[in-house]
C-alpha cells in the first residue's frame, strides 16, 4: 500500500497530511501518537470509511480491508449472529466464528443478545467479527482498549495469527507502547496529522531519531 499526499481536512482543520507512507503485507504496524494526531483518521481513510480531501491510499484492486472502529457497535441478534455478519454463512465461516468466539472467551454469551454484552464483551465480539473474514489488510483502532489483560493477550495472539495465516498487513492503532513492542514489527509515530518517524519497533523505541518521538516516549514511557 503506497499512501501518497493524503490530506484530510475538516473545514479549516487539517486532520491528516501524509506525504508518503509505504506499508507492506505480512507486516504488523503499530501506529502511535497523542490524541488527535490523526491515527483514527488514517485508519478510516485506509478502510474507505471517509474520503480524503486529496491524495490516495493506493490499495491494489484485489485488496480487501477489514476494519474495526474505535467504538464497537452491536446489532440486534445474538453474539454469534453478530460475529457471522463478518463472514459468509458457510460451514467454514461458522467454524471460524466458533473458534474466535471460544478464543476470545465469548462461548458462554454466544447465544445471548449482543446488545446486552458488557463493554469488554462487545469489544471482543467486534474483534471476532473483524477477524472472522479473510482480508489482505487488517486495520484495528484500539481493539484492546476495553479488555482485561488476559483477553488482551488472547486478542494479540489472534491478530498475529491473522497476519501469518493470510499474509495480511496489520495496522494497529494503540496507546500502549508495551503492546506495540509485543505485537508489532514496525512503528509509525504520528504528530499533528503527519507521520514523523517510521521504522522497526524495537529500534525506534530504544533509539528514537526525532525530538518529537523522544518527547513522546519520555511522556508515555515504554
Amino acid at each position: 500500500m503506497r499512501i501518497r499526499n493524503l490530506i484530510v481536512r475538516y473545514g479549516a482543520t487539517t486532520a491528516l497530511d501524509i506525504g508518503e507512507l509505504t506499508l507492506k503485507r505480512g507486516v504488523c504496524y503499530a501506529v502511535i501518537g497523542a490524541n488527535g494526531c490523526g491515527k483514527s483518521t488514517l485508519a478510516r481513510c485506509i478502510a474507505g470509511v471517509i474520503k480524503p480531501t486529496s491524495g490516495e491510499v493506493g490499495l491494489q484492486p484485489d485488496d480487501k480491508v477489514r476494519y474495526m472502529p474505535q467504538r464497537s457497535y452491536a446489532f440486534y441478534g445474538s453474539t454469534l449472529s453478530n460475529v457471522m455478519l463478518g463472514v459468509n454463512a458457510t460451514a467454514h465461516g461458522k467454524e471460524r466464528a466458533r473458534m474466535l468466539i471460544d478464543a476470545l472467551n465469548l462461548t458462554t454469551v454466544a447465544r445471548q443478545g449482543a446488545k446486552q454484552l458488557s463493554g469488554g464483551q462487545t469489544a471482543r465480539m467486534a474483534l471476532a467479527r473483524t477477524l472472522v473474514g479473510q482480508g489482505t489488510w487488517l486495520v484495528l483502532d484500539e481493539p484492546t482498549a476495553a479488555l482485561d489483560s488476559g483477553s488482551m493477550l488472547a486478542a494479540e495472539g489472534l491478530i498475529r495469527s491473522y497476519r501469518d495465516e493470510f499474509d495480511a498487513g496489520v495496522i494497529l492503532i494503540t496507546h500502549s507502547l508495551k503492546q506495540a513492542k509485543r505485537v508489532s514489527d514496525q512503528l509509525v509515530f504520528m504528530e499533528n496529522g503527519h507521520v514523523v518517524e517510521q521504522g522497526e519497533t524495537k529500534r525506534l523505541i530504544d533509539d528514537p531519531q526525532t525530538p518529537a518521538l523522544t518527547r513522546f516516549l519520555e511522556l508515555f514511557g515504554a
Binding site: 477489514r66 476494519y67 446489532f75 449482543a114 446488545k115 473483524t130
Partner: protein
Amino acid sequence: MGSAFAQALQLIVTGDPMLLQIIGVTLRMSLTSSATALVLGAPWGAFLAFGSSKVKSVLIVVNRTLMGLPPVVCGLLCYLMFCGVGPLRFLHLLYTVEGMIVAQVILVTPIVAGTIEAYARPLVAPVRETGVGLGMSRPRILRLMIQECRYQVFTSYLLALGRALAEVGAVSMVGGAIAYKTNVMTTAIMMYTNRGDFKMAIALGIILVGLFFLLNILAHVLQPKVVA
C-alpha cells in the same frame, strides 16, 4: 350520569349498529392513513437521516415544522383544494372517507418521518462504519440499518395510528361528519355530546381509550428483546 355510563356499556356489549358503523369508518380511515403515512414517511425519514448537507438541513427543519402542523390548518388546506372551486375538485374527495385519509396522511407523514429520522440519525455513522469495515455492500448496509430501526418503524406506525384515531379537526372539515358516511369516533363524540346524547358519546369514548390502551400494550410487548 351514572345511567348514561351504564347505557353506554350496554351499547358496547350489545353491539349497537350505529356504534359499530362509526367504529368501522374510523378504523378504515385510521388504518389506511397510518399505513400510507408509514410507507411514505419511513423512506423519507431514512433519507433525511443519511448524510448531511445544507439542503438536507433545510428539509429537516421543514419536516419538523410540518410535524406541528395544526390539524385545522391541514383541514382548511384540504378543504380549499377539494371544494367546488378548488384545483382538485375533479377528484371529488370532499365529504368522503378518502378525502379524510388524504388529510390525515398529510398530517401524519411528517411525524413518522421525523421520529424515524431522529432515531436513525445517531445510528447511521456506527452502522455504516461497521458495515464498510466488514466489506459490506451499500444495499446490505441499508438493510442492516432498517433492521436496527425496525422497532422504531413499528412504534412510528403506532404513533401514526394513534394520531389518526384521535384527530378531529381535519377530518371534520374534510369529511363533514356525515352520519353513516364520514362520521368517525372523534367527530361523533363531539356531535353526540352537543346533542346531549351522552350514552353514545361515552360508549365511543370508552372504545377510543380502549384502543389507545391496546396500542400501548402492543408497543410495550414488542419492545426489542435481544435473542440469539
